[in-house]
């Protein structure tokens, strides 16, 4: 498993403690929504990097008022076909103006990177021998977009209008 961010492999500085019984006092961590709700005050006091994981059945409204505390929001894909996190990503970016890292975790496939990137993901925890090559393939496959989305890419409808 490697962490691909903005097209390069980076070191993951956050320990995923979302399934752990204890939340460690120090070090960068990724917590669950339940942990956040239970230890919110203590977690805010920590100075180390903090991220949160949303399961696919947890809507972004649950944390919408607290986004300033998270450097990373990880959205889980329990299976590649569970597409709820695509909607969550758009809401986080477009409705709640979340500016930090949006990370896809779980069953993340090469063929989905393009769609994920379009809805606002900038980081991907992916199983791959060569994640950078995978990213380059996914990013170059399709160069036409029909819909406005979180990535700000200009859709064909707008490009046609600009030409006239």
């Amino acid at each position: 498993m490697v962490l691909l961010k903005n097209g390069t492999v980076v070191e993951d500085t956050l320990a995923d403690v979302s399934a752990a019984e204890q939340v460690p006092e120090n070090g960068g961590i990724l917590v669950s929504v339940a942990q956040w709700q239970e230890h919110r005050d203590a977690l805010i006091q920590r100075s180390d990097p903090l991220g949160i994981v949303l399961r696919s059945d947890e809507k972004p409204e649950l944390i919408a008022d607290d986004l300033q505390y998270f450097g990373v929001i990880a959205l889980d894909f329990p299976a590649f076909g569970d597409g709820r996190a695509y909607s969550s990503a758009r809401l986080l970016r477009e409705r709640f103006s979340y500016p930090g890292e949006l990370r896809a975790v779980g069953d993340v496939l090469l063929e989905q990177l393009h769609f994920m990137n379009r809805v606002g993901f900038d980081a991907f925890a992916i199983k791959s021998d060569d994640a950078v090559r995978d990213w380059e393939i996914a990013a170059a496959d399709i160069s036409v977009w029909y819909q406005p989305s979180s990535d700000g890419r200009v859709p064909a409808t707008q490009l046609r209008h600009n030409k006239n």
Partner: protein, 551 residues
Amino acid sequence: MYRYDEFDNRLVTERVEQFRRQAERRLAGELTEDQFKPLRLMNGLYLQLHAYMLRINVPYGALSAQQMRQLAHVARTYDKGYGHFTTRQNIQYNWIQLKDVPDALADLAEVEMHGIQSSGNCIRNTTSDQYAGVAKDELEDPRVYCEIIRQWSTLHPEFSFLPRKFKIAVTGAPNDRAAVKLHDIGLRMHRNEAGEAGFEVIVGGGQGRTPFVGKTIREWLAPENLLSYLEAILRVYNFDGRRDNKYKARIKILVHQVGADEFRRRVDEEWEQIKDSALKLPQEEIERINSYFAPPDYAQLEDNTELLASQRAANGEFDAWVSANVADHKVPGYAIVNISLKSLRLPPGDMTAAQMDAVADLADEYSFGELRVNHRQNLVLADVPQGDLLALWEKLAALDLATPNIGRVSDIIACPGLDYCALANARSIPIAQEINQRYQDMDRVNDIGDVTINISGCMNACGHHHVGHIGILGVDKRGKEFYQFTLGGSSDQNASLGDRTGPGFPGDEAVDAVETILNTYLKIRNEGERFLDTYRRVGMPPFKEALYGAS
């Protein structure tokens, strides 16, 4: 019709190359069939009982003559010389080999066709009225909005992994020929009190094992808000639709479980947030797309009823064909011609490559080079001068494409059934052919008049049995094919689901049961009453008694 510009062309070409790489990885063994499955499904490639099946979209059923010739070329080059038109206005090739699929897709891309989103849990081909643009009862051309939806839904990044497949249909006329109440979303254009055209939005219709007629969640929607409202519906469904059981994952189950009012509340709450976003359709964009659907260059003709009447009087077969297969056109002197794909020789919806080529030529000669596919698996030539009807009929007859049975007993919708499909429990095509065989006497057929028989080979209902006036469902009963009957279904503006008659019939008695049902109708109908109207008037008892004996 719509023509691709540089953007549409680039997307489809890139997509073919992407799939070519994926298919090469599969053929080289780098991908297992399991890993390959989601990739091929995104391009319309299924694995069926005997072979791969490739489904190609015909957007809202519109085909140019050139596209039809390319479909013939694909049938001839990569398949066994046939294609099968489906109830979603698409075409399927049932004998394609994986190694040939990238080439077939590349050939189709040359004529602006593809299989993107013809399968998978995404927004499928948007379907419409086969008489769009030429129907007398139409308010506005629905194809304009179908094309806008086609573009918006193509590779939609948020909605490509929905709980289940998602089908949208649009009609611009009060007489619904697109079955909009049986779709995940149905859009019916009508005027509000201010006289402005907009959409009634119907959600949660569908067939399958749990059929529902859709529910109206918005009486009138301004066209400029079409995409934001669709996006709100899709987002609610993407979040809230069930993902624990694929048989309960369609939007109809969600709408049924939470109720139409609660579903509407959720959609409206979401829509409030996005209705003024970049999705708002500028009038110029609607007009830009509309210009693609400008009427063809019609000649100044008059309705020549006398000539047609004398031609019909002189030729009984031509007369029967005009009665059943020709519909009124909004422009004087023109007619809409339905081409029946329900002859005795081929399964419903099937066409040979030679027929496709010939029909393309006829479209060029008589109908401005365009064709349509309808959801009852027939074709339409939408713009034929009335004075050419006789000549066209003669040529169609020579191609075995002039069966005068549109809307009649042998105009049967049938799924591929156990002859092809891995899901089926029973065969559909032989039952359809046997009914067709039994009703060859056209006087008898015309006496029975309007009746739709729909046949599905399993409860997934691809043959639309729930909404056939007479529905036939094939089931497996201890290794034997049995056929259950429903009566009173309809997919039009007064849509209804059929009622079960009772126990099913073995395969060799199924067509006798059809005859019993129709004979009962003939006995008890009032003057001028269609089968469906008779059933709605008298209900099940007389049919039940005829089928099963007095209780």
